[in-house]
Symmetry: C2
Subunit: 396 residues, 2 copies
C-alpha cells in the first residue's frame, strides 16, 4: 500500500511541475521594464542595435523615441506590423484603434496567430506587443471610428492621448476603406494633426504611403491618392462573394515604408518621403509631392492652408528639410514631381481609368459612386482636372 510519505513526495513533484507549466503560460512579461535605454553591447540588451544608430551617425538622439506617442488606426495586415515595428523600436506609447476580430482568413499576413482567432484585433495585438516589449505603453479602442459618438472620442484621444496628455506625435492610417480614411482626414484637418495615410490595392500587388501635413500638403480630400496601375479592371473587384487578395510581402513592405518614414520624421534623420508608391510586379517605386487644393471641400483644410500661407517661412521646415526643397513647389501649380518611368507591363488595353487618370496610374482604392448616399464628406472636383494634372506631370 502507498505510504503517506510516497504520496507527499508525489504531491511535491506535481506542484513543481505545475509551477513550471504555469510559468510558461504566465502573462507576466519575460523581461522586466527597462528604465533607460542603454548602448551597452551585451546579448541581454534589447536596445543595443537601436542605440548603435547613434554611434553610426544615423540618428542623433535615438532615446527620444521613448517620449513619443503614435496612434495606429486599423490593426490589420499593415497596422499590426506597423505596431510591432514601433514596439520593437521602443516607441513610448501606442494608441490602437480597430473594431474587427482576428479570423483564420487573416493568417496570410504577418503578426496574428491561429490561436488568437475570435479575439478582438486590438486585444490580441496589445497582448503580443506587451510580451515583445513591456516598456511600451499601449492604449486600445475596440470600436469603429466612423460612427458619430466614436468619432468624437477618437478626436479626443488623438488630441490628448500622448503619454503626457497632449496630442499624439503622429497618426498612422492603416485602414482599408474610404470612409475610415475620410474620418481620419476630417479629424486631422480640424486638429491640425500631421498624419500618414497608407494603402494596399485589392489585388495585393501595389501599395503606397503618403505624409499629410494640414495646410502644407494635399489632404485626403484635396486629391484622390494615386498608385501605379496594377493591371486590373476595378469592375472585376466588386462582384458578390468576391474577396480582396492580400499578401504578407506587400503588406509587410508597406508597413516597413510607413514606419521607416515615421522614424525619419519623428527622429529627424534622412529625408521623409511625402508620397512613396510600390508596384510589386515590376519593382517600381514612384514618389511625388502634392500641394493642397485651394478649393478643397474640407473647410478646416482651407483654414490650415491660410494659416500656412501666413506663416513666416523659416530657414528650415519643422521636419528639418531645408527650404530649398519647397522652391520645387513654385515651379508648377501642384508641386508634383513624379519619377519618369512607366511600368513595363502597362498597356493601354488593360489599364482602367475610373476617374480619367492618365495611363500608368490608377486610384489606390475605390471611390464611392457619385450620389452614393454616403453621409461623409466626398472628394471635391477641383478647378484643374486630373487630366490637366497628369499633363503637367508629363512635361517635367
Amino acid at each position: 500500500m502507498t505510504s503517506i510519505e510516497e504520496l507527499k513526495a508525489k504531491i511535491e513533484r506535481l506542484e513543481q511541475e505545475l509551477a513550471v507549466e504555469k510559468s510558461k503560460n504566465s502573462n507576466a512579461p519575460v523581461r522586466g521594464k527597462i528604465a533607460q535605454m542603454s548602448s551597452e553591447v551585451v546579448d541581454s540588451n534589447p536596445y543595443s542595435r537601436l542605440m548603435a544608430l547613434k554611434r553610426m551617425g544615423i540618428v542623433d538622439n535615438y532615446e527620444k523615441i521613448r517620449e513619443l506617442s503614435v496612434a495606429v488606426v486599423g490593426v490589420g495586415g499593415v497596422g499590426s506590423v506597423t505596431a510591432e515595428m514601433l514596439t520593437r523600436c521602443g516607441i513610448g506609447k501606442l494608441v490602437l484603434f480597430d473594431y474587427d476580430k482576428v479570423e483564420l482568413a487573416n493568417m496570410n499576413r504577418l503578426f496574428f496567430q491561429p490561436h488568437q482567432a475570435g479575439l478582438s484585433k486590438v486585444a490580441a495585438a496589445a497582448h503580443t506587443l506587451m510580451d515583445i516589449n513591456p516598456d511600451v505603453e499601449i492604449e486600445t479602442h475596440n470600436y469603429n471610428i466612423t460612427t458619430m459618438e466614436n468619432f468624437n472620442h477618437f478626436m479626443e484621444r488623438i488630441n490628448t492621448g500622448s503619454s503626457t496628455g497632449g496630442p499624439v506625435d503622429l497618426v498612422l492610417s492603416c485602414v482599408d476603406n474610404f470612409e475610415a480614411r475620410m474620418a481620419i482626414n476630417t479629424a486631422c484637418n480640424e486638429l491640425n494633426q500631421i498624419w500618414f495615410e497608407s494603402g494596399v490595392s485589392e489585388n495585393a500587388v501595389s501599395g503606397h504611403i503618403q505624409l499629410i501635413k494640414p495646410g502644407e500638403t494635399a489632404c485626403f480630400a484635396c486629391a484622390p491618392p494615386l498608385v501605379v496601375a496594377s493591371n486590373i479592371d476595378e469592375k472585376t473587384l466588386k462582384r458578390e462573394g468576391v474577396c480582396a487578395a492580400s499578401l504578407p510581402t506587400t503588406m509587410g513592405i508597406v508597413a516597413g515604408f510607413l514606419v521607416q518614414n515615421t522614424l525619419k520624421y519623428l527622429l529627424n534623420f534622412g529625408q521623409t518621403t511625402h508620397y512613396l508608391g510600390y508596384s510589386a510586379l515590376t519593382d517600381f517605386f514612384p514618389t511625388m509631392q502634392l500641394k493642397p487644393n485651394p478649393t478643397c471641400d474640407d473647410s478646416f483644410c482651407q483654414e490650415r492652408q491660410r494659416e500656412f500661407a501666413a506663416r513666416p517661412k523659416p530657414e528650415v521646415c519643422d521636419d528639418g528639410v531645408p527650404v530649398e526643397e519647397e522652391v520645387v513647389h513654385e515651379d508648377n501649380d501642384w508641386g508634383i514631381s513624379l519619377v519618369d518611368e512607366t511600368p513595363a507591363n502597362t498597356t493601354e488595353e488593360n489599364v482602367s481609368k475610373p476617374v480619367g487618370l492618365a495611363q500608368g496610374v490608377s486610384v489606390a482604392y475605390d471611390l464611392p459612386a457619385p450620389n452614393s448616399g454616403s453621409s461623409g464628406p466626398t472628394v471635391q472636383d477641383t478647378d484643374i482636372s486630373l487630366e490637366q494634372l497628369m499633363a503637367q506631370m508629363k512635361k517635367m
Copy 2:
C-alpha cells in the same frame, strides 16, 4: 493529520490542473492540416486571400506553391521574416539553416519573442512557424554551413531536400557575413542551383536582394555586391566592442522584397528583379543586371557559363521573361542598367570608397582584407576595373 484519501484527492486535482496547463503549452497545432487549398470566401479559410490572386488575374496557378521547397540559410532579422512570409503563403516545404541562439539583443527585429531567448533560432522558428501554418513541412539544421563537414551535408540537403527528394526549388541567402555567402555561392555554382542573395548594411539603413542564376548572371564571386552609399565610413564599423545597428523596418522590407521576388519567380507572374537595392534615408531603389565574369575565380561558375553559352536560346527564358529583355545584355559588356538617380544627401566628403567604387555606391558589406588568411575563395580581380564599370554605367 492528513488522511490518505485527502492526499489522493489532492493528487487528482493537481494532475487535472497540470493537464490543463500542459494542453495550453502543447505543440499541437491550433488548426488541423488542410488537404487542399480552397478559394472559398469564409472567415475560417486561411488561404482565401491568397487564392483570390487567381481570380484577380495575378497568378495563374497559386496552389502550385504547395509543391515547392525553399531553403532559407540564416534565420536572423531577414531570414526569420522570410520564413514566416513563405509559411503564411503556404509554401510546401522550408529547409532552415542557422547555428545561432535567440538573444534579447535580437528583439529589435520582427519574429522572435523574449520568451524564446536561449533557444536555437531554427528550433524557435520551427515551433512558431508550425503554429502559424501546420501545412508547411519544416526541416531544420542547427549548424554552421562553412565548416567542411557541415558544408557537405548542406550541399546534400540543397540537392535532395525537396519534399519529393530532389533539389530545392530555390535557395534564399539571409546570412550576415562574407564566408557564409561564399559557401552558398560555391555550393550553388557546383549544383547549378538558382538562389537569391540578400543583405542589410551595418548601419541599418540600406539593403539589397540579388538573383543569381549560375552561368547566366554574375555569381557572388564574379563581382562584389553594390548598394547605394549609406554615408558611413567603413572604418567606424569595426572597432572593438562596436556592434552593428539594425532596424525591424529595413529588415522587414528586405525580407518582403526577397519573398515577393521569390513568389514572382516560382509562381511565374510579374517580372523578377535581378538586383534591387534599398536606401532608406532617401527612399532610393536602384536596380541593375550583372552578367557573369568570364574569368571568375569559381571554376564551376565558368563551367556553368560555358553551358549557358552553348544552350539554344529559347523564345522565353525559363522564368517566363521574354527574350527581348536579354538583348539589353548585348548593349554593353556587363549588361548593367542602373536607375539614373543620385541620393540627395550623398556628398564626396562622407562616402568611403573601399574598393575604388564611384561616388554614390559602396559595397553592401565588408570584404575581408587581402591576404586575411581566409581559406575560402575570394573575389577575383576582373579584367575590367570597377571604375571602368561605373564609367560605363554613367554613360547609360
